[in-house]
Symmetry: C2
């Protein structure tokens, strides 16, 4: 059996990877980073998953030119400007920026990733001028993780070391940003995963898709999907070690934990709720109900109000168009039954218990449909005054 350990820090722990973050003047406060790089001293196998938004931002259209699976050793990331809806000019800007990287870095297939406001050209000169501030041999994951934040209130980085059954070991680390526009299909989130595992190129996509399906694709802050979402896996193979099961486990774990951090840090979010739907006609119907629950404004405001109003849960399931029957439905908050056909009105004891559960920072709402074997869990958060404030004021 393999073993997995958490290490303090992020990408810096992974052999052969270097990273740093600086202020390039995109944020007004010079102490706040807004530009980061991640590079590997040897070439990486790279696999990327992108937003399904039809208006893909320029950095995604630029990266897609390398194909589905390719080799690269360099990634530049900026905050505050999404370089989206900028047309062919947006791609030209990326090419100009990347062509100005120091020649002694000898970058191969360099990538760029961006997050921020849509519709403005990148400040090419500012970005290029900031290259001098980078320490290209830094292992400063903290600075990189901070520089990619937008409305995030805390940085998101994780690192695991995996010891395989045969005694070999490799590391996997990632930094991510999220906060708003988080929705199934990875909305406005960036996640860069670096590993020294010697994963074969042809196993990368399957592993990454499974990990994203179980993590970033299950979380919703507000049901919106951005133009820039990217999950990137860079593997430089430097450890010489690999074990398929152990690597998949570690990749799924790092994605899931980062997804929960993103949700916990959802704009104006004060609690994280798992919506588990069981007993649906099939997994697709379970997923539809669970995702609708995580996106419903009436459910999200009831969570914020800490009101055990299970009627909104039931109504949202019924509105999702799946097969369901009020005589067979049961709804639980954690393990507390709040509705079934024998217990339709909350008595005061159960109502008190439900209030206590809803006050927690994290709990589960479980819906048993009693129809078939379909199951799915989606993760969401509440909708608070702060969400409205942040998003009413965001651009200014």
């Amino acid at each position: 059996m393999f073993k997995i350990f958490s290490l303090k820090g992020g990408i810096s722990n992974v052999e052969g990877f270097y990273c740093d973050g600086v202020n390039a003047g995109l944020r007004p406060d010079p102490k706040q980073g807004d530009l980061a790089f991640i590079r590997s001293e040897t070439l990486c196998r790279v696999c990327a998953l992108y937003t399904e938004n039809r208006f893909k931002a320029a950095p995604i259209r630029h990266a897609m030119r390398y194909g589905e699976l390719f080799e690269s050793d360099f990634l530049l990331v900026n905050a505050k400007n999404a370089n989206a809806m900028t047309g062919e000019k947006g791609i030209e800007d990326i090419e100009r920026i990347l062509s100005m990287l120091p020649s002694d870095l000898e970058v191969h297939n360099p990538l760029m990733s961006s997050t921020g406001v849509i519709g403005y050209r990148l400040p090419v000169q500012k970005i290029v001028s900031a290259f001098d501030s980078f320490d290209w041999n830094a292992k400063n994951s903290d600075a990189a993780a901070r520089a990619i934040m937008t409305t995030d209130s805390f940085k998101k980085e994780l690192c695991f070391e995996v010891e395989t059954e045969s005694g070999e070991s490799f590391r996997i680390a990632a930094i991510a940003k999220g906060a708003g526009m988080i929705n199934p299909a990875m909305a406005t989130m960036l996640c860069f995963i670096c590993t020294d595992a010697d994963i074969p190129a042809d196993e990368m996509r399957g592993a990454l898709e499974r990990a994203v399906k179980g993590s970033f694709n299950r979380i919703s802050v507000d049901g919106d999907m951005s133009t820039n979402d990217t999950v990137l896996l860079m593997a430089n193979g430097r450890s010489g070690a690999y074990d398929r099961a152990a690597f998949s486990f570690a990749l799924e774990k790092i994605c899931f934990e980062l997804a929960m951090m993103i949700l916990e840090d959802g704009e104006g979010s004060s609690k994280v709720v798992a919506f588990e739907v069981n007993g649906a006609a099939n997994d697709e119907e379970a997923a539809r109900a669970a995702v609708n629950l995580s996106n419903s404004l009436l459910v999200k405001t009831a969570l914020f109000g800490e009101d055990p109003n299970w009627g909104r849960i039931a109504s949202t399931i019924g509105a999702s168009g799946i097969e369901c029957d009020e005589e067979r439905l049961a709804i639980y908050y954690d393990d507390l039954l709040v509705y079934d056909s024998e217990h339709r009105e909350l008595d005061s004891r159960r109502e008190e218990a439900a209030y206590s559960i809803m006050k927690k920072k994290s709990f589960k709402i479980r819906c048993e449909l009693g129809i078939g074997e379909g199951s799915y869990t989606a993760y969401g958060c509440d909708l608070s005054y702060d969400y409205v404030r942040i998003n009413a004021e965001y651009r200014t």
Copy 2:
């Protein structure tokens, strides 16, 4: 050509209809109505459209037993309790209540309609006791319209008189309630339309479906769909007059104007916005984009913040999965161009103009996709702190 006039008041203006509203103790304030009736002294042809929610409330399941098209002369409506998720008992409660109506009313196929909190049995005794407070021969549309309000901040009633080309005339009037959970597919809204037009039974459903499709199905407050939505058309034929085109026009007009009143009164809404999408591959794709725009939290909060952030409009269109191309897209606020491929960044003059438009109580966001001939207009409102407050506190 026919003529159409607005009359002051509502249902009371229509020959043969009586209505009233009283307090039955469902609301704590005895001055606020919570129970209304509408009756016709002669039998009406009735056509109803109901919520698509799979958990249909008891009053809907009760009414559906009469079939798609039936005759009735009596409707009872209560607020504060939805009689939803109450099982077979919920229907039995309705039957008990309606069986206690004064026998001299000689009601035929009486109906009930409810709105309010889900999951509680109707207070049968309170409702039946309030029958004594009704004036069964009242023509008090104002009291009826007020008694069906929930979080509505103003009553919704309209009446038109229609003069046909041949000089005959008939009237059509309606009361409605809305406010929250308003979504395409008529979420938590009730609308009761009474006419003395002599419309043939077999023309009612088509006319009502068209009118609802162009009105209540195009508006969204929060994307949620309730268990109780109902649009009911009662025609007693007392005028002896009918003209298909004139009647359809009047029915569509009354539904559209009530829909706009509901949106204007959306929970916490401070402005009404039309989302017009033209040039889509087909009408279905136009509708998907327009409806997504009206439901997007990021769009709704930008409206509240009065921020001309067209990037959120573009991103939402791209996320709706329809055919689109950023080189062919153009976005207008009223007649002001805010984006096309030649004008990607707002200059200060256009930004100022956009700010002025966004300050209006009502304006249009028009998206020209430049792909095909598909068009659709959806109507939405902004999302404010008040929406969160109202819905976090609603049940208590």
